[in-house]
């Protein structure tokens, strides 16, 4: 039994073993296929994913490009009033180089009363300006341009527009600074040099260069570390564009396979173009400089097309170590590196021996001052961003490489800064308690077209923080009064500049709260019957309140809105005396309508926007809209001229404004001297100034004693043009007996403008 049992078990075991062997064979057979599958599928999927990644990265939007923001271009013409020194400052600020001869675009020099410039070419919205050799001749001690001559064409130019100064960039969130260049625009020499130095077999290899890798491996074994390259340009591009910068063998493998794939799909020139736009060239503050086009401006302040052999050699040399060979910090190392590149260029037949020798002797030619990475005009830029927001998305601004042409006038901005900084200093000297406490804002525009020329939002020039011009909403005080008087003057049958107003006690009881409002004049005095223009000129509160009630609060509110007040307000009796909080920019918008003769003219900080390739996108043209009868505004402006010379502005105007300047304006002082305002204009400039404290405490200054001084300093430095004497239609000047207490100092008669009836030609209002 036991034996039989044993046998049975043996045969069972054998059977089992046989089955096992069979199973094993089957299993091995299956395993082979499985392994093959297991290897092929991942390999295939690896290749496919990588292929997809390469193609997506290469064909999609490769880079986010920062938007470039430009100041207005300086346009000069024969007969223009501008100082020679101002033209020089403008040139050097926009990166022109002072030289002794005009060799390259971007060169300039001065000789006597001539400025010689080799202008840089530039594409504007309405056309291209080529590079030109120019002579600008001045007269009257260098204050007026006599003529502008184009030297090579031997002819005079009626008007010359220079390329605009770049004032800011709106960077992508990853802070790469880059502008794109097409391969056709890259100097062939640069490409030849790059290939001679970085990848001699570029045009023949298929993405990787096995010989170069072998050489690199051998060098690395000898050196004992895995550091030296052997990478082709294609591999370098893959490394920078697609992969992360870790140094592992796996990454090397990925890099090589992707390079092969890249070469499989794309032409050599496409790869080269991408490389030239990707490559890293150094650091500007927080921003990385990428691509040859940006690097050319960053180091030489010139477009790529204009670089010479030594400059090209330096750029190519920087690719291996932009910070190590930084020509600004380590000029010696940079020079050695450049020499090495020049030698290689010669050895590869890219340049001749003479060219090499000559280039070796050249200085580095790098612009000493690194371009600014922060804008010097932060307050203005705030306004630009507000306007851009209306038409562009934030992400497009940061990535589409838009070219934004603004209205900023660097000359006016400089003058405004001088006026603000110096005056604040003087005001604080006069009152020690204010030391370090005063602050201010100043907005400057063109009356006729609404272009914002300069904005100051802080006492410190170029400070980027709280922007008072835009964001400090303060009580405007008497700045509101012109709106009330204009409402009256529009009603020309009832009111003229000589209308008698009632400057007497006033009381108003709020029926809901029972509170009584009792306004007073600043002086505390009561003047009885006063002519309208005097009440405005001296800023009498009581006369104004009586007038406002006569006209009706709603009518006054309507005038404020027509002037350009862009929000819904509830008008209280106290609003008649400026109990309304506005920013300097909002005030400017309202005065703009007065300064342009009754036409609402929206403020603009942008003229036009181009795509990164120069394609026109948006233009913001001048817009005007008739809101008030020009004759009424003319009368008001006459009264506001009296306010400057004979009213509340009298002493400041006498001290600070040249006598020939005929400007209109209004002071504003708020309760307890918390805010000092002035808004005023001539025919070419409108400026609104505010001076006050951030904690809203008293500054012990009236509008005339504080802000008007800033304003007057600016208008004087900027040589503001007087208001036109030409009266619009339906205005007649009449000589009348100087009314009692008239603003004129002389006895006898004064000339005053009146509105005449359109049909009869008679005075609409009879002063008798």
């Amino acid at each position: 039994m036991a034996h039989g049992k044993t046998y049975k078990r043996r045969s069972q075991l054998r059977q089992q073993r046989q089955k096992k062997v069979h199973n094993q064979r089957f299993f091995l057979f299956k395993l082979r296929w499985l392994l093959l599958l297991l290897i092929t599928i991942p390999l295939l999927s690896y290749a496919l994913t990588m292929d997809a990644e390469v193609r997506e990265r290469f064909e999609g939007k490769r880079w986010a490009l920062p938007a470039k923001v430009f100041a207005r271009p300086l346009e000069i013409y024969a007969g223009m009033e501008i100082k020679l020194a101002e033209v020089q400052t403008e040139l050097s600020d926009s990166g022109y180089r002072k030289t002794s001869s005009l060799d390259k675009p971007g060169d300039y020099y001065t000789r006597g009363r001539d400025v010689f410039v080799y202008t840089r070419p530039f594409s504007f919205w309405d056309g291209k300006e080529p590079a030109r050799k120019i002579r600008i001749r001045f007269k009257n001690k260098g204050t007026v341009i006599t003529h502008i001559a184009e030297l090579e064409k031997r002819k005079f130019m009626p008007v010359l527009r220079l390329d605009p100064m770049q004032i800011a960039k709106i960077y992508p969130t990853h802070k790469e600074d880059r502008s794109l260049v097409k391969i056709k625009k890259v100097p062939p020499l640069l490409i030849q040099a790059l290939i001679a130095v970085e990848d001699r077999e570029f045009y023949t290899h298929n993405g990787i260069n096995l010989y170069a890798i072998g050489r690199a491996v051998w060098m690395n074994i000898k050196g004992g570390s895995w550091s030296q390259g052997g990478s082709t340009l294609t591999q370098q591009l893959v490394k920078n564009l697609i992969l992360t910068p870790e140094r592992t063998l796996k990454r090397k493998f990925n890099e090589a396979s992707m390079a092969l794939l890249l070469e499989l799909h794309y032409e050599k020139d496409e790869i080269l173009e991408a490389y030239l736009n990707e490559v890293y060239f150094g650091q500007n503050g927080a921003h990385e400089i990428h691509g040859v086009a940006t690097a050319s401006w960053f180091y030489f302040n010139r477009p790529l097309e204009q670089l010479d052999i030594p400059e090209i050699a330096l750029l190519v040399g920087l690719i291996r170590g932009a910070s190590y060979y930084n020509p600004r910090k380590n000029p010696e190392k940079a020079k050695k590196r450049r020499a090495l590149i020049l030698k290689q260029m010669y050895q590869q037949g890219v340049i001749s021996e003479v060219q090499m020798e000559e280039s070796l002797g050249e200085p580095l030619n790098v612009v000493a001052k690194q371009p600014r990475s922060k804008t010097p005009y932060p307050a203005f830029l705030d306004m630009v961003r507000l306007q851009l927001k209306e038409d562009y998305r934030e992400e497009d601004l940061r990535s589409e490489g838009l070219q934004v042409f603004t209205t900023l006038d660097p000359m006016r901005q400089r003058q405004a800064q001088t006026a603000m900084v110096k005056r604040i200093h003087k005001l604080e000297k006069q009152n020690r308690k204010l030391r370090g406490k005063l602050n201010g804002a100043l907005v400057v525009t063109r009356p006729e077209n609404g272009e914002v020329l300069a904005v100051i939002g802080d006492r410190r020039a170029g400070f980027s923080g709280f922007n008072r011009a835009l964001n400090a909403k303060r009580s405007v005080g008497s700045l509101i009064k012109p709106a009330i008087y204009l409402t009256a003057l529009e009603n020309s049958r009832t009111y003229s500049l000589l209308s008698s107003l009632d400057d007497s006690k006033f009381e108003w009881t709020n029926k809901q709260t029972g509170k009584v409002w009792k306004p007073r004049n600043y002086s505390g005095k009561i003047h009885g019957k006063v002519p309208l223009f005097k009440a405005l000129g001296y800023s009498y509160n009581l006369a104004t309140v009586h007038l406002g009630f006569e006209l009706g609060l709603d009518t006054v509110k309507n005038t404020l809105i027509r002037l350009g007040l862009d929000k819904d307000i509830t008008v209280y009796p106290a609003t008649l005396l400026g109990g309304i909080d506005l920013s300097p920019v909002e005030v400017t918008q309202m005065y703009q309508t007065l300064a342009s003769g009754g036409f609402r003219t929206p403020l603009r900080t942008i003229r036009d926007v181009l795509a990164h390739d120069g394609k026109p996108l948006n233009r913001y043209g001048v817009q005007v809209e008739p809101r008030f009868n020009p004759a009424s505004v003319f009368l008001l402006n006459h009264a506001l001229q009296q306010a400057v010379r004979g009213g509340t502005g009298r002493s400041t105007a006498k001290a600070l404004l040249p006598e020939h300047m005929r400007l209109a304006g209004k002071t504003g002082t708020t309760n307890n001297y918390r805010d000092s305002w002035f808004a005023g204009y001539g025919s070419d400039l409108l400026a609104v100034a505010w001076v006050g404290r951030d904690d809203n405490k008293s500054i012990q200054l009236t509008g005339g004693g504080g802000a008007m001084k800033v304003w007057a300093d600016f208008m004087r430095i900027a040589k503001a043009s007087s208001l036109s004497k030409t009266s619009p239609k339906y205005v007649q000047w009449r000589r009348v007996h100087a009314p009692k207490g008239s603003l004129t100092q002389r006895a006898g008669t004064v000339k005053i403008p009146f509105i005449v009836n359109q049909d009869s030609g008679m005075l609409a209002y009879s002063p008798g």
């Binding site: 223009m80 309405d126 009626p158 006729e448 003769g597 036009d608 043209g621 817009q623 025919s683 036109s724």
Partner: protein, 142 residues
């Protein structure tokens, strides 16, 4: 009624075309800057005749920065907007030109013509009537 309306509009356009040739030969007031202004005006005219309205507007605005009170420039800008069928803008710009040309009767007539055409474009009959009668009254006056 409608027919006479259309006829009148066509006539106004003819008048404008006729005067259009005149506009660019008008003497400009700003003495010193005149060469700069007239060269920009000339370029604006060229762009306009090539059909590049907005380019023309940009050039006129450059000229206006040099001579902001020049009524001829404002008038031409109004003409560009009229051509672009930006009726409201055209009328406003012509009104602006009018306030600066109190001593230039013919320019005022042209401006009222632009306003009349703009009113017509907007389909505003009463505004058209008013502008038309203004232009006619001016033409009759001495």
């Amino acid at each position: 009624m409608l027919l006479s309306f259309l006829k009148y509009t066509a006539m106004l356009k003819q008048v404008l075309l006729l005067l259009g040739l005149l506009a660019f030969s008008l003497p400009l007031s700003a003495a010193d800057a005149s060469a700069a202004v007239s060269s920009l005006l000339k370029s604006a005219h060229e762009e306009f005749s090539k059909g590049n309205s907005e380019q023309s507007a940009a050039l006129l605005e450059r000229a206006l920065r040099i001579a902001p009170q020049n009524p001829v420039l404002w008038h031409n800008l109004a003409g560009v907007r009229l051509n672009q069928e930006e009726w409201a803008k055209a009328a406003s710009l012509a009104a602006k030109s009018n306030t600066l040309s109190s001593d230039n009767k013919w320019l005022r007539i042209r401006n009222w013509t632009v306003i009349a055409l703009a009113c017509d474009g907007m389909g505003d009959a009463s505004c058209l009537r008013e502008a038309r009668s203004r232009a006619q009254a001016l033409a009759r006056s001495h």
